[in-house]
């Protein structure tokens, strides 16, 4: 499934400082990071370790204080303006679904296409396809507020996939869901990723979720955020929920937990 054409991401000397009333806070220390095309990369770390800031810098939502972000070999920022071409490669899923409550589910999913000027009939056909792909067929006409949290996140994933992005950025997308729904959505996400063949950067503070999903895990140290440990996860795909019972799986989880405890 790994496609050599799928673009990757490169962070070179990226650093982020925030000015707060209490002084300057270094959120992310100088970070160099190469994300390979088609890879499933997980950024793992405790709350406030800057993992979300790294993701938001890749998404173009936060301007790095120093350093450069490259997406598909293109620099994301040109003197304060974001590269439109690089942005089209991105789909982003947030912790909250951030669906617009005034649009039906299908219109939310079709929003990225609407902004691109795709005719209404075409984009709604495409939105229904996407709804079916993420498993919310039959709810296309519902209001977001009528859906459960898990279904809203599915719709948010469908919206992120609407422009067929090469890179999917996910900021704790299942963090607010119950454990059962979370396992289910992790499986679905793997299926979608395998069929889509895109690059995924996934932020989480759940160790087992990280090990289940990732090709590679980067463990971040808290304040200032800095890449501490890198772990390759070798299990073949598609992975089943039951791999969590394997001793090798639990071994990786334990190593990460011990390192995390040492850091905090």
């Amino acid at each position: 499934m790994k496609d050599a054409q799928v673009p990757g991401i490169e962070l070179a000397g990226v650093m982020k400082r925030f000015d707060t009333p209490g002084g300057t806070v270094l959120a992310v220390d100088r970070t160099d990071l190469k994300i390979r095309g088609g890879e499933f990369l997980v950024l793992l770390g405790p709350s406030g370790c800057g993992k979300t800031t790294i993701l938001r810098m890749i998404a173009g939502l936060v301007h790095p204080s120093e350093g450069t972000v490259r997406i598909a070999e293109r620099e994301l920022w040109h003197t304060g303006r974001r590269d439109a071409q690089a942005l089209t490669e991105l789909g982003v899923v947030f912790q909250e679904s951030n669906l617009f409550p005034w649009f039906s589910v299908e219109r939310n999913v079709a929003l990225p296409l609407k902004l691109r000027g795709v005719p209404e009939a075409d984009r709604l056909v495409r939105a229904r396809e996407l709804c079916a792909r993420v498993g919310i067929a039959g709810f296309e006409r519902a209001w977001p507020r009528q859906l459960s949290g898990g279904m809203r996140q599915r719709a948010a994933i469908a919206r992120a996939l609407a422009r067929d992005p090469f890179i999917l950025l996910m900021d704790e997308p299942f963090g607010a869901l119950d454990a059962i729904t979370r396992d289910q959505l992790n499986l679905e996400l793997q299926r979608i990723w395998l069929s889509q063949g895109c690059t995924v950067v996934f932020v989480t503070h759940s160790i087992s979720e990280a090990v289940f999903l990732a090709d590679r895990i980067l463990l971040l140290s808290p304040r200032p955020g800095r890449i501490d440990t890198e772990v390759e996860v070798p299990f073949p795909r598609p992975r089943l929920t039951s791999i969590q019972d394997l001793p090798e799986f639990q071994d990786i989880v334990r190593r990460l937990r011990e390192r995390l405890e040492a850091l905090t």
């Binding site: 939502l61 942005l87 982003v92 947030f94 951030n98 617009f100 005034w102 649009f103 902004l115 977001p144």
Partner: protein
């Protein structure tokens, strides 16, 4: 189990109790009908009012002034509110003047409006607009400013333009607040039109009320007030009902309809 809503009985019951208390108070204490006319006299006057050939004309004038004034208020409130909500420095610069139009005793300005715009409906429309635009404006500004930051992130990631962001995000997000402002605005618009009619002119229900008073027809005055109340109620219910049409997605509508699923 099917429950009949309690308010089907309580509201008419309370109304009946009010009329009874009124009736017995007036008869037992022998109150002059020039001070408080008995309910039956008001009812008679109300029938007279409804059957009088001029009533329709007066009602129409008041409705016309109210609705046109309200529409102007909506245009100014939403238009200016959207601009101010998007441009904080302009809001800071203009805010003192906008507040000044509200803290000045507006009723004291009515003679001035009559001087400027004449005794016809125009001056009343101006009064209605001046009274009604403020809640619509402040609510629009608040609505535009209260856009969810997560929703903004979505539009930023999609590299949406300013106009697209306004149409797809800011305006719909502000609609519940704008409609709440309109609910207050329509009531103020009626007040504006009627106060304008009280103070100058020879048409409209406000004029009819003053004329009844001058003829010592207190019963008719009460009947006019009753008619104004019914009209005000109708307009308020209409604007309130717009919510179902304009923001069917909002909690206030979804909860009413009990359609929220797990």
């Amino acid at each position: 189990m099917k429950r009949v809503p309690l308010d089907w009985f309580t509201t008419p019951g309370l109304l009946l109790a009010f009329v009874l208390v009124w009736h017995f108070y007036v008869t037992w204490f022998n109150v002059s009908k020039f001070i408080i006319p008995p309910p039956l006299l008001v009812a008679e006057s109300f029938v007279d009012l409804l059957t009088s050939p001029n009533t329709l004309k007066h009602t129409w004038i008041t409705l016309y002034e109210t609705i046109v004034g309200f529409l102007f208020a909506c245009a100014i409130g939403v238009g200016l509110g959207a601009v101010l909500g998007k441009t904080p420095w302009l809001e800071r610069a203009l805010n003192p003047f906008i507040v000044a139009t509200q803290v000045v005793p507006k009723v004291a300005l009515v003679p001035l409006f009559i001087l400027w715009f004449g005794f016809g409906p125009e001056s009343k429309i101006v009064v209605a607009t001046v009274l009604a635009f403020f809640p619509i404006l402040t609510n629009t500004v608040l609505g535009i400013k209260s856009v969810d930051l997560g929703h903004r992130d979505v539009m930023t990631v999609l590299n949406a333009g300013k106009w697209e962001t306004f149409i797809s995000l800011e305006l719909p997000s502000a609609l519940p607040a704008i409609l709440a402002g309109m609910e207050v605005g329509i009531v103020l618009a009626i007040i504006g039109a009627v106060v304008g009619e009280y103070l100058g002119g020879s048409t409209g229900l406000g004029y009819l009320a003053v004329a009844s008073l001058n003829d010592y027809k207190t019963g008719m005055l009460f009947a006019v007030i009753l008619l104004l109340t019914i009209i005000g109620f109708g307009l308020y219910v209409f604007i309130s009902g717009l919510k179902r049409l304009v923001i069917p997605w909002h909690e206030s509508v979804l909860i009413e309809r009990q359609t929220v699923v797990g």
